[in-house]
Structures are given as structure tokens and as C-alpha cells.
């Protein structure tokens, strides 16, 4: 293996390690209890915080349109949206801290975070 190839592989390994460390760091830095919430952000402002432990349906109304958030069996997903690309609808349900669903055209972000307060 050439010197250059070795450096390339080292670079790739270092970047993968950085991703792992970042992920670990984010988890360590996040605060709150053990229970998880689905946090809805519309255009930068948090508009709702729903416990994942409770089944629920929420219409997220934004300037762009409407996304239907469904919480079922401890996981959140976007069941319907009137956006162009439907990326959020096709995103997998989220249930672990740090997972997220994004609707770029509506500026809607749904994240899973640890429950605040109590």
C-alpha cells in the first residue's frame, strides 16, 4: 500500500472517529430525564413537546402547509404532508434520542429529546 493511500485511509478513519465522538458528545451534553419527548420546531421556534410514551396526533401548521405528526408505540412519524417532496413522510419513525425528521419546504423539524422538567 502506497504512502498516499495510507494517508487517505487514515483521513477517512479519523473523520469516522470524529463522527462517533461528536455523537457521543452530543448525547453527553444533552440534559433531562430518561423519558423521551418529540419536539416540534417550526421556523426556529419550538411549538410543541409531546411525550413519546403517549399515542397522539398533531397537525403541525406552518407557513408552508400542514404536516400530520403521529406518535404511536413510542415512535413519532409524519403520516401526511402537503409538501412537494414527501421526504418527511418517507422518513423512518424516530424513537431514539437525537433522531430527527425534517421537512425542508415547511421549515419543520421534529427531534427526539430527553424530557425536560419534573
Amino acid at each position: 500500500m502506497g504512502e498516499t493511500r495510507r494517508r487517505d485511509l487514515l483521513l477517512a478513519a479519523a473523520l469516522l472517529l470524529a463522527a462517533l465522538l461528536l455523537w457521543g458528545g452530543l448525547r453527553l451534553a444533552s440534559r433531562g430525564g430518561d423519558a423521551l419527548d418529540a419536539v416540534v420546531t417550526v421556523d426556529g421556534a419550538v411549538t410543541a413537546r409531546l411525550p413519546l410514551s403517549q399515542d397522539a396526533r398533531l397537525e403541525i401548521v406552518s407557513e408552508g402547509g400542514v404536516n400530520l405528526l403521529v406518535i404511536e408505540n413510542g415512535a413519532a412519524r409524519v403520516a401526511e404532508a402537503d409538501c412537494r417532496n414527501q421526504v418527511c413522510v418517507h422518513s423512518r419513525p424516530i424513537a431514539q434520542e437525537g433522531e430527527l425528521i425534517v421537512c425542508l419546504p415547511h421549515k419543520v423539524v421534529v427531534t427526539v429529546e430527553r424530557h425536560e422538567g419534573e
Binding site: 487517505d8 477517512a12 461528536l22 420546531t41 423512518r92 425534517v102 421549515k107 427531534t111
Partner: protein, 167 residues
């Protein structure tokens, strides 16, 4: 060293056309591995090749032209911002890495893939106004490394073929 001016202009045109075909292929068959926001970035194969076959200025021209035209054809005004942020940042990083000479084609392409994703995420953070998106960064770093490595390996294989065509 890299042929006459006419030849280089023609090469720029051919590479732009090739990049657009690759973009179109990814529109038809999205290689996103089931993860939203992730893509293979086939068109970047052309940019990596251009960085090695042309002067930096001309490779830049290929990059900007293909971003503009593919946004017109397949995208929107908003997607143009994402493409520009990802494309220009990754071009700058790759051009510097190429000039530095420490890394091979694969390393240059890996740096390009990662910086492309960082640029796009930065635009998303600004447009959506939430730093919560930083949770997506680890995923995007990993996907940038993997797709960049793949593209880099293919570009490395393609280089002797391109050189033969030129000679």
C-alpha cells in the same frame, strides 16, 4: 501542459454535460440508502476528475455551471442555495487538498464529500433556524466519508482512461 485553449473549452463543455447526466441519473434513481438527505453524489465524480484533468479555474467553471444548470432543470430556488453551499465549499476544500499533495484522489474526494454535507447542513440550520439539526451531523459525516471514498476510488480508476483519451 493540458492542451490548447480550444481543447480545454471543449473539455469543460463535455464534463458539464457528463455531470448533468449523472445528476439526472440520481434524480431517476436516488441512491440515498434509505436515509433522507444522503446521496451518492455521482456528479462529484466529474468534479474530482476535472480537478485532476483541468486547471483549477476551469474545474471551478465546470462545478458552477453544472450546479446552476442542474438547479434550473431539476431543482428550485431554495435547492440552488443548498447546492451552491455544498458545491462551493467542497470545491474549495478539494482544490486545496489537491494542491497540498498530501492526499490521493480518494482522500481528496472524501474531504469533498464531508465538506459538501457540512455546507448543506449549515444552510439548513440557517434556513430552518434551529441548531437541533446538529444531531444530523454525525450521520452526514459518515455518509460523506463513505460516498466520498467510493467516488474517489472510481475517479482514480477513470484517470488513466481520461489521460489516454487526451494523449
Amino acid at each position: 501542459m493540458k492542451g490548447s485553449r480550444a481543447r480545454r473549452v471543449a473539455t469543460v463543455g463535455v464534463l458539464v454535460a457528463l455531470a448533468l447526466i449523472f445528476s439526472y441519473v440520481e434524480v431517476l434513481i436516488p441512491f440515498n440508502f434509505g436515509i433522507p438527505g444522503v446521496k451518492l453524489g455521482l456528479a462529484n465524480l466529474v468534479i474530482v476528475a476535472a480537478l485532476y484533468e483541468l486547471r483549477a479555474r476551469e474545474a471551478f467553471l465546470v462545478d458552477v455551471t453544472r450546479i446552476g444548470v442542474s438547479s434550473l432543470l431539476f431543482g428550485s430556488v431554495v435547492s440552488l442555495w443548498y447546492s451552491l453551499a455544498g458545491g462551493l465549499l467542497s470545491f474549495a476544500v478539494m482544490a486545496l487538498a489537491r494542491r497540498g499533495g498530501r492526499f490521493g484522489t480518494m482522500g481528496v474526494s472524501v474531504l469533498g464529500g464531508v465538506s459538501h454535507n457540512i455546507g448543506q447542513l449549515a444552510v439548513a440550520v440557517v434556513l430552518l433556524g434551529t441548531g437541533r439539526l446538529v444531531w444530523y451531523l454525525p450521520t452526514l459525516l459518515v455518509s460523506g466519508v463513505l460516498t466520498g471514498a467510493l467516488i474517489g476510488l472510481v475517479a482514480e480508476r477513470a484517470r488513466p482512461l481520461l489521460a489516454r483519451r487526451r494523449g
